[in-house]
Amino acid sequence: MAIVSFEKVSKDYLTDGQRVHALDDITLEIERGEFVALMGRSGCGKSTLLNLAGAMDFPTSGNVVLDGVTTSALKDAGLTCLRREKVGFIFQSFQLLHTLTVFENVELPLLLAGKPKARDAARERLDWVELDGLGDRYPHQLSGGQMQRVGIARALVQSPAILLADEPTGNLDTITGNVILGLLKRLTRELNTATIMATHSAEAGALADAVVRLRDGKIEEIGRR
């Protein structure tokens, strides 16, 4: 059963009174354990698709079903709960809170959800991303690669069903980027989560189990290995 499915999904935006079709009639299913790369030119709809998959936004038409729950049937509070339970986000620019330590950044989603033993979970996730021992540092005391590992640990702390990564290697050098991609792929397998990654990188695409090519808001091609 698909962990996330898009059923005839379209998304329009109004920009300066003009309707812009960001996504147009998208139908797509992604299974647990799948590592999917979304590729295409800037503005083709990669980020919009990620936002819909992460219950951050509603489709204009069609349905996004996340682990059996149709997102458009929920209100803000319901979406928040769904995100907390099912989704982990990884960002291009890491998006760490500079005022918090590594531990505090990682455990933040658990604290927001009011869950206990947050520190233990954070310690474990940092272990997974090979950052054990750096939990008391602040983000500015880390390298770019280490910051992105913290971002991944934070995304995994709730044991999400789906990981959404928007250009996770976009701010990293090639070697570090490849290490991060390897890590993501390994964790996707080991944790049986689904990872959807928006990327421009051919190396990233080559590592993925499936590559979804988007063009002007439509799926141009789906290549599965």
Partner: protein, 851 residues
């Protein structure tokens, strides 16, 4: 022109995109400017352009002859025999109350025949500064009738109207024989013939003042000498208006203190401008870097940020002008009431918005804005283009300077302690205010360390108790330490002012209550009806006093008498108590701490007097010193036996035994009576008997309790304006917190958006912002209480003492302070509602995507 356009595009246009925040900053400046302007305008109207009521219709004369207790009428004759052409205008000057409306007016008695003939049989009756009232011989004849008066046109009376006037304790009926234009009431008075006035006031054989109009040459000094040569001892000649100048001098400290108090709101506003420009500098750091990289000089950056501050200043001043004018109308009434109850009967002048006032508003608005913005603007100009892109460095700098600032705060606090021990400068507590400013500065420097210590210690604990939102809120405040410190500094300064003035007024109130217990030993007090004023001493009929003293149940009465005198260029009150009468003295209220009976025995029928505490301060005398002043036709010296606490008037009082006073001023009529009842006599029954005995007299009878309640009512009214000024400062600070929180939200939109990505609900974001507002309020309250306590010590023991000479016992008005602080705290938390709403309304996708 091009640069102006660039300035608009880079600095002003971004402000227009945040209208609420820009409006809050402008409103803070507006309020600050408005309050200072209002106090300046009102102060000028109520005290600066002060004219004693008795100057009404005094005209433009050169010299005046005065004496304590009145100028012997015979002197008019002596002056008339001088071989010079001098215009001589003897005057009776007192007050009358319109019995039907209770309006108190100056009562002026003039020698109408002489006045009418002054221009060689001409028709000028009364000459004021800008008008001459014409009349004819028939009118003059009418006016000389015993019931004739002239009144000002603003009273709306017509010729022939009958008017009932309360003069001393008697109501008499008079007929309006003339109406004169009185400049919309500013020259309003009841004018009567000199003889009629003497009869009505029951003061025969003397006049209150003789005005002299002398030709030139010779010079005025020469005329003064010529006139002085024929005057008996105790009678003085001086330039006309000296009394007004003396009163203005007396009012100067009052005005000065109020004016300085009005600057509090401006100081708080300065903190907020500093904060606004700091926010602007931090937020535009990348743009600054780009502009610098494109060729802008450091000076251009500096000028741009100062220009932004000047924009706030100019706009605030523009709005502050009309608001200040409006506030002045309310302030002048409160000020005039205080002047009337504490100093002298007077009329506030018109509020005049002069070119100077407009300039003042702009100088204050723009000046404060630019000065307070200088530091962040300079920092912006010093940042290199590369550095401008680095985040977090600025907060790091603040953390590094914390210890240095704390040390500097300690040095300033020690300097404040030193300044508070310095004496007054020309009667003004300059060093007291310097100490207060140093304390505020010390507090501002200590706030970052204090804030950091509290936040770092409490954030984990807060997180456990109030949830992750509190942890995030406190971490966020701690991370923006500089901005947090400025906000805490601004709000705590406003709270400190509120606390310090609250403690000072509360202590003063408590002191007055204790003092009244000591000073009001009698059971009942009687005085002529009509509004009281420190310089008005209407008298009670002698027969009435005798009648009351013989009533059954009355153990005795103390006939108190008071006169206005001038001493060392300052007005003062000369009063007497009847030490031969029955007395029931309370505890000591003397600085020496000696028993009352012992002190009073020393001045009984002797050349020893007591003086009030404010008197010693104004005239620089101590117990044991000797003072000399004109008294009737003599100029005796008296030894100061002791000094008594007096919070009833700020004028300064000399108190002597009635027998001693009668020796110099033989008028036995008392100004008021203190009535002692026999033990076991019912107060109500005695009151009824006295009121019955007083039928036919217009007097006010008050029990000891009534009198205390009235005194406290006047006391509270006196400080109403102080509370209003504090409220404005607090409003400015709370608005500043709202604006700053809004800025914080806008600055942290990425972070807030991210929290939504990480699973934060709208309620959690809302709660975080409110927790931040609550934490700011809490920190400010702690800092404000500490600073307020220190400032209250300076206010009570330095500024008050050096300005007014009052000894105030320290007292914590706990209930008042708790109430005020709770209100401010609630307002601070509520000020977070709008920013919290804005935070919730942010689109997380946009916020995160922007990065």
């Amino acid at each position: 022109m091009g640069r102006l356009f660039l300035f608009y595009r880079l600095m002003i246009r971004p402000l227009l995109k945040e209208p609420v925040r820009a409006a809050l900053t402008i409103f803070a400046v507006t309020l600050g400017v408005a309050v200072v302007l209002a106090m300046d305008l009102a102060g000028n109207a109520a005290t600066g352009s002060f004219r004693a009521s008795m100057e009404t219709l005094a005209g433009d004369n050169d010299l005046e002859i005065v004496a304590s207790g009145g100028v012997p009428e015979a002197i008019v004759g002596s002056l008339a025999t001088l071989p010079y052409y001098i215009r001589i205008s003897p005057r009776m000057e007192d007050s009358a109350v319109l019995a039907d409306s209770n309006q108190t007016l100056p009562l002026i008695g003039l020698d109408l025949v002489a006045e009418a003939n002054a221009d060689g049989g001409g028709r000028a009756l009364v000459t004021s500064s800008d008008k001459t009232f014409e009349t004819n011989e028939d009118t003059i004849r009418q006016l000389q009738k015993a019931d004739s008066i002239w009144v000002g046109a603003s009273l709306g009376k017509k010729l022939g109207d009958r008017v009932r006037l309360l003069i001393n304790d008697q109501v008499r009926e008079f007929t309006v024989r003339g109406v004169y234009p009185d400049s919309n009431g500013s020259e309003s008075a009841v004018v009567m013939d000199l003889a009629t006035a003497q009869r009505a006031l029951n003061r025969f054989g003397s006049v209150d003042r003789i005005l002299l109009n002398v030709p030139e040459p010779p010079a005025l000094d020469e005329w003064e000498q010529r006139v002085r040569a024929i005057l008996p001892t105790g009678v003085e000649v001086r330039a006309q208006g000296t009394g007004t100048i003396e009163n203005r001098r007396m009012l100067a400290a009052f005005r000065w203190n109020l004016q300085l108090l009005s600057y509090i709101a401006l100081i708080v506003g300065a903190f907020l401008i500093y904060n606004t420009i700091s926010v602007s500098v931090v937020r535009r750091r990348p743009e600054t870097g780009i502009v610098r990289a494109l060729g802008a000089s450091r000076n251009a950056v500096l000028v741009a940020f100062l220009g932004e501050a000047a924009f706030f200043g100019v706009t605030g001043a523009l709005f502050g002008l009309p608001m200040g004018r409006l506030m002045a109308s309310g302030a002048v009434k409160l000020m005039a009431a205080t002047v009337e109850s504490l100093y002298v009967s007077s009329r506030p002048g018109a509020i005049a918005l002069s070119a100077w006032s407009v300039a003042l508003a702009f100088v204050i608005g723009v000046g404060v804005a630019v000065v307070s913005a200088y530091s962040p603007a300079r920092e912006a100009s010093l940042v290199s283009p590369v550095e401008a892109m680095a985040r977090g460095r600025r907060e790091y700098k603040t953390r590094v300077h914390k210890s240095r600032d704390l040390l500097l705060a300690l040095v300033l606090a020690i300097a404040a302690a030193g300044a508070s021990r310095a004496p007054a400068m020309q009667g003004k507590p300059v060093f007291g205010y310097l100490a207060a400013i140093l304390l505020v500065a010390a507090s501002a420097l200590a706030v970052p360390a204090f804030t950091d210590a509290i936040l770092s210690q409490s954030s984990r604990w807060l997180g456990k108790v109030l949830g992750v939102e509190a942890l995030l809120g406190s971490q966020s405040l701690s991370a923006s330490l500089r901005r947090t410190s400025v906000l805490v500094g601004a709000l705590s300064t406003a709270i400190a002012m509120m606390v310090s003035v609250g403690i000072m007024v509360g202590s003063f109130r408590e002191t007055v209550l204790i003092w009244m217990n000591d000073r009001l030993p009698a059971d009942l007090y009687l005085r002529p009806a009509g509004a009281p004023a420190p310089d008005r001493h209407p008298t009670v009929s002698l027969e009435l006093a005798d009648k009351i003293s013989k009533l059954p149940g009355v153990a005795g009465i103390d006939r108190l008498r008071a006169y206005e005198i001038s001493l060392d260029g300052m007005p003062a009150t000369l009063a007497s108590v009847d030490l031969s009468a029955f007395r029931r003295d309370n505890q000591s209220s003397f600085l020496s701490g000696r028993p009352t009976a012992q002190v009073l025995a020393e001045i009984r029928d002797s050349k020893a007097v007591l003086v009030s505490e404010p008197f010693t301060y104004k005239h620089h005398v101590r117990a044991g010193d000797s003072i000399t002043f004109s008294l009737g036709a003599a100029r005796p010296s008296f030894r100061i036996a002791d000094i008594y606490y007096d919070y009833g008037s700020e004028r300064g009082t000399i108190l002597m035994d009635r027998q001693t006073m009668l020796r110099y001023l033989p008028d036995p009529t008392p100004s008021n009576l203190a009535i002692y009842l026999m033990p076991g006599t019912s107060l109500e029954a005695a009151r009824n008997e006295i009121l019955q005995a007083s039928s036919g007299y217009r007097v006010l009878l008050a029990s000891n309790r009534d009198l205390r309640a009235e005194a406290i009512r006047i006391f509270d009214r006196t400080f109403a304006i102080t509370y209003a000024l504090e409220a404005v400062a607090v409003i400015v600070a709370v608005m500043g917190v709202a604006g700053a929180l809004l800025a914080l939200v806008i600055d942290r939109r990425r972070e807030i958006g991210l929290l939504r990505f990480l699973g934060a609900s709208a309620g959690q974001v809302h709660k975080q912002i409110l927790v931040e507002a609550g934490l700011l309020g809490l920190l400010a309250n702690f800092a404000g209480l500490a600073l307020g306590f220190a400032l209250s010590l300076v206010l009570i023991f330095v500024i008050n003492k050096q300005s007014f000479g009052w000894t105030i016992r320290f007292h914590w008005p706990v209930a008042v302070l708790l109430g005020a602080i709770s209100v401010v705290y609630a307002a601070t938390v509520l000020s977070g509602l709008y920013p919290a709403q804005v935070a919730v309304g942010l689109n997380p996708l946009e916020a995160v995507h922007e990065e």
